[in-house]
């Protein structure tokens, strides 16, 4: 059995005494695409930020390639170099062109020359149909284009793992598809991904495994066909029922 790409062991996190994660156990194997679903405030975002070490955990362990990244003495910058995270709001740097946004980390963190970084950035922009936007500033792009650039920015450092935090939630409906297409493309390229999402149709379509977060734990997980068609837990059933009623599945 291969070492998991990412493993969470009994991860706990509270904010000012309010528990958000109450013992998360999760195994992500290489090339797995895992979708985290659950109500707002169920801790999906917090979980991703913990994995990226943007939020320190209170208890438990997070292992990347079998190596404990939450141990004391681990340099968080070295860990973050190995994974990409994309947030709900696009968080591009407004004072930089698209090209500079993408090449900043490769140049400053990974030591690439400007020429190398720009060649790679243009290649990625081309792959996702944004080659003509290289010299634009973010505020000239649509929300969907901005979010695609944010994904490309994360990809530019060749991460081993991508964390996607509700990347379509802030988008107008007609712009969601173009972003989801990018993620499908990444899946077919074999990228390991942990995705927090409200897009149930997309989760059913793209996930190898779906995890339902509730009350700070992963209440139920399994292949999407199983979770969406025959949820074992009553709470999962009720959550999915509400989604269906809202016309989102």
């Amino acid at each position: 059995m291969t070492v998991p790409k990412l493993e969470l062991r009994d991860v706990r996190k509270a904010f000012d005494g309010t528990p958000v994660l109450e013992g998360i156990d999760l195994v992500v194997r290489p090339h797995d695409v895992i979708c985290l679903i659950g109500a707002s405030g169920s801790g999906k975002s917090t979980l991703l930020k913990c994995v990226n070490l943007l939020v320190p955990i209170d208890e438990g362990q997070i292992l990347l390639d079998g190596e404990d990244i939450t141990a004391p003495g681990v340099n968080p910058n070295r860990v973050r170099e190995r994974m990409g995270i994309v947030f709900q709001r696009f968080n591009l740097f407004p004072h930089m062109t698209v090209l500079d946004n993408i090449t900043l980390a490769p140049r400053k963190v990974h030591g690439a020359t400007r020429d190398e970084a720009e060649a790679r950035a243009r290649e990625l922009l081309g792959r996702f149909g944004l080659e003509d936007k290289a010299d634009e500033y973010p505020d000239r792009l649509s929300g969907g284009q901005q979010q695609r650039v944010a994904i490309i920015r994360s990809l530019a450092t060749d991460p081993e793992l991508m964390l996607l935090d509700e990347v379509t939630s802030a988008l107008d409906p007609e712009l969601i598809a173009e972003v989801l297409d990018v993620i499908r493309d990444l899946k077919s390229a074999g990228m390991t991904m942990l995705i927090a999402t409200h897009e149930m149709g997309f989760a059913r379509d793209v996930a190898d495994r779906v995890c339902f977060l509730d009350g700070g734990v992963i209440l139920e997980q399994g292949p999407p066909a199983e979770i969406f068609a025959r949820p074992r837990e009553e709470r999962t059933r009720r959550f999915l029922q509400r989604i269906v009623e809202a016309g989102r599945l």
Partner: protein, 285 residues
């Protein structure tokens, strides 16, 4: 967009609340005529008052203006050079202090504490006291290898004092950048210092340019404070002339010179602030 904009045409001198070209022209005419009437009335009151000949002799004597002008202008040129040197140093030093103060995490506590102590201490001391302390105090020590010129230490006092205020201006700018920007940068693997340097500071500076320009106007006049060290800059030259002739026109000469520089900078600040405000509104349609 256009309709709402033409309603308030910024903080110009001739502000009109109505819109339309004709209304604008009418408003300008009214403003012009009323200004002329106002000036004529004030001028008449002043010039016909009994005290005017004495005031004119003491403050507005053409002969004294011409006689004192070369010395005052020469001194003022020193003010301008002091200002330029000090401003460059202040903008750089203050930025470094603000960046240090913006570092997070327990490991940086000593550096952060140092920055806070410096800012608090310096802002609590009158600038004139700092100038006296350094300008007279340090040269009196006759330390080997340390400059002994009052000019050097007077300037140093100005730079030390203004850097503390300016650092706070920068810090306000850094804090005004949204937290998600810091998080995005950190998630890409950038260190704290890289995040501050490449992501936060460039956005911060844009936010605080008007405040920095305001500090620039203030410094442009405050350089004259080093006159107290006996340095023969503009105000000192004017004082010397007055002491010799018992006529104050030389002070008016110095006043004119300072205004010639500071008023254009003030107008530029207003223009820049207004342009920036419009741009921001245009982006956030």
């Amino acid at each position: 967009m256009r309709a709402s904009r033409s309603g308030r045409r910024g903080p110009g001198l001739f502000r009109s609340r109505r819109s339309g070209r004709e209304e604008g022209a009418r408003a300008a005419l009214v403003a012009f005529v009323s200004s002329i009437v106002f000036l004529v009335v004030v001028g008449w009151v002043v010039l016909t008052s009994e005290a005017w000949p004495a005031v004119q002799r003491q403050f507005f004597s053409w002969g004294h203006l011409v006689a004192s002008w070369p010395a005052v202008l020469g001194g003022f040129w020193l003010d301008v050079r002091m200002f330029l040197v000090a401003e460059v140093l202040i903008l750089v030093i203050a930025l470094v202090v603000a960046m240090i103060r913006s570092l997070r995490g327990p490991a940086f506590f000593p550096l952060r504490a140092l920055a806070v102590v410096y800012i608090d201490f310096i802002r609590g001391v009158p600038i004139i006291l700092l100038i006296l302390l350094l300008g007279f105090g340090v040269p009196a020590l006759q330390l080997p290898g340390v400059p002994n010129s009052p000019l050097f230490w007077g300037l140093a006092a100005l730079v030390i004092s203004y850097s503390a205020y300016t650092a706070e201006v920068y810090r306000a700018g850094i804090e005004s950048v949204h937290e998600s920007q810091r998080m995005s940068a950190r998630s890409l693997g950038l260190t704290q210092m890289q995040t501050i340097r490449y992501v936060l500071v460039p956005q911060a500076i844009r936010n605080v340019v008007p405040a920095l320009l305001n500090g620039l106007i203030s410094l442009q006049k405050d350089v004259a404070l080093v006159f107290i060290l006996g340095i023969r800059e503009g105000v000192r030259e004017a004082q010397i002339y007055t002491a010799r002739t018992f006529n104050y026109t030389s002070y008016v000469a110095a006043t004119i010179l300072f205004l010639l520089v500071s008023i254009p900078v003030a107008r530029f600040t207003d223009w820049y602030t207004e342009r920036d405000r419009r741009r921001k509104q245009a982006v956030s349609r």
